[in-house]
Symmetry: C2
Subunit: 304 residues, 2 copies
């Protein structure tokens, strides 16, 4: 049994407030005195979410970007952040981290309003992000049979970037940048939120996140592997066959938006590609030009 799921199931049993959305979303939505708050808390642990050799300013960027991405999926505007930081005795790393944190927060227009430091052996950095939404806040659970399934931007680059960062392969700098400096789709999320039936960010891999969206909505996702948008750099490194596409669809860290919609797409600041459809049933089902494709053993990256 996946220990995270078991623990989350237990947490869910005490998270009964509607604002918790059953812990099925990456962000909580709290209506308070006419203000619709969207809140997220994500933690990055060294060795799990980033590598010991990753630059501290890249880690800071990523910490902010992954939380912003959660808010992007809610169509919310990020406003303020609190950080929880472990001091492990490496002042040089800490200094570069803070500089990077300041730059990342500035980039997204977020005010740092609180910080807690604790001394620890393991580097683990949490960020609480507070944002505000106006109007409808999409969840993962609103997709209906017949909705089209879309993803923004391209997927798979960050997975190859991680392999480059680990020294497992060489490749263009754009792939490494996709891993180190993911760009959350904030503007696209805001434009899409009023029109989609369900939306989430792709953090752990397209297939596993599509499964989560399908499960939360009580429908199945049919995905055309050939439709998954790949970059020229990805194709240059891995090709464009079924195996390559499965790598892209199961790599994590894309921070694109995955959404179901029955309506025409609004004007967006980025590409959005129709990759499939929501149908009756459950699970994720893959096909390509050659027919049905068996699901890979691992649908994505589980941070365990």
């Amino acid at each position: 049994m996946n220990p995270e799921l078991s623990f989350i199931d237990q947490l869910r049993s005490i998270a009964t407030d509607p604002a918790a959305r059953g812990l099925l979303d990456d962000a909580a939505v709290l209506d308070l005195g006419g203000t619709r708050l969207v809140l997220t808390l994500d933690t990055l642990v060294e060795g799990v979410h980033f590598l010991a050799e990753d630059r501290a300013d890249s880690v800071a960027w990523k910490l902010v970007a992954v939380n912003v991405s959660d808010l992007a999926a809610k169509g919310a505007k990020p406003l303020a952040a609190l950080t929880s930081y472990t001091l492990t005795g490496d002042a040089a790393w800490d200094n570069v981290f803070i500089k990077g944190l300041g730059e990342a927060l500035d980039h997204f227009g977020i005010a740092l309003i609180g910080g807690d430091t604790v001394s620890a052996h393991e580097r683990s950095i949490g960020l609480t992000l507070v944002g505000e939404a106006r109007g409808f806040v999409p969840s993962r659970s609103g997709a209906h049979e017949g909705d089209a399934l879309f993803v923004t931007g391209i997927v798979g680059d960050a997975g190859l970037g991680l392999a480059i960062a680990r020294g497992d392969m060489t490749g263009p700098a754009s792939l490494l940048a996709a891993y180190r400096r993911p760009v959350p789709q904030l503007a696209a999320g805001a434009a899409l939120a009023p029109t989609v039936s369900a939306m989430m960010d792709v953090s752990d891999g397209l297939l596993i996140d599509a499964l989560r969206l399908a499960d939360a909505s009580g429908v199945a996702a049919m995905i055309d592997l050939d439709a998954i948008p790949l970059s020229p750099e990805f194709r240059g490194c891995r090709g464009d066959d079924r195996a390559a596409r499965l790598i892209a669809a199961t790599a994590g860290d894309d921070y694109q938006l995955l959404f179901a919609s029955a309506r025409p797409l609004p004007s967006l600041p980025c590409a959005a590609t129709r990759i499939g459809q929501m149908v009756r049933g459950s699970g994720v089902h893959l096909h390509d030009r050659d027919g049905a494709v068996p699901l890979p053993m691992t649908l994505g990256w589980l941070h365990q």
Copy 2:
């Protein structure tokens, strides 16, 4: 140099929004669309803030209580929480923790609205608490020359409770309970907030926290060691001489409210004891019936 202070100084340089209150408070105050949010993020690390042998439900209580205490010092009402939890592979501990977390949140009327789990070797648990304040939110920095200095409840019990938990001494169960199940002064904080000039919670020790309040306010604190409220249990274990009072005044984990006020006290649901006065100058200055008392080497508990 204290590494926490150095890091916090750097964080402060990027936390320029008024809501951050210069990171000189334990909570951030964010005005959003007519709602005055009070936000805090505190993390407990095993071996630093709790002992490996502490019961998981006590740790859960403490995690909630320390964050509630931060809100109590702002006179805010806690509403919702997000938790960041490390899975270290001990499902039995995790189960007891969740049960305790549910009970603690229920006790304070807080909804759990978000949770993030990460796998790690070191047990480190963060909680973001969202509360709401109405009207004036006191800070640490508002004390004036001439204000009287008060503390709620009693101090020192939790420090002895920690010694009992560590096996360093034996003593009454009430001392252990003071360490394991601190009770934040939420109702007192709400009653005091409109009338005090400065307020904070005593988490690291009365003397160090009084120094923080004095420094933030640009005045000095004169404290009468004889006035510090001790419990009969504390006196029974440690006596009531200068050395015993210095132990009480520098032990952490009291979670009482320390406040400066020039006005009559409102009706309170707990005792509040006048322990000194704010005067011109800087620092903390101690005296007792025998005259001036030199400051101890350590004013409190630094979580390093």
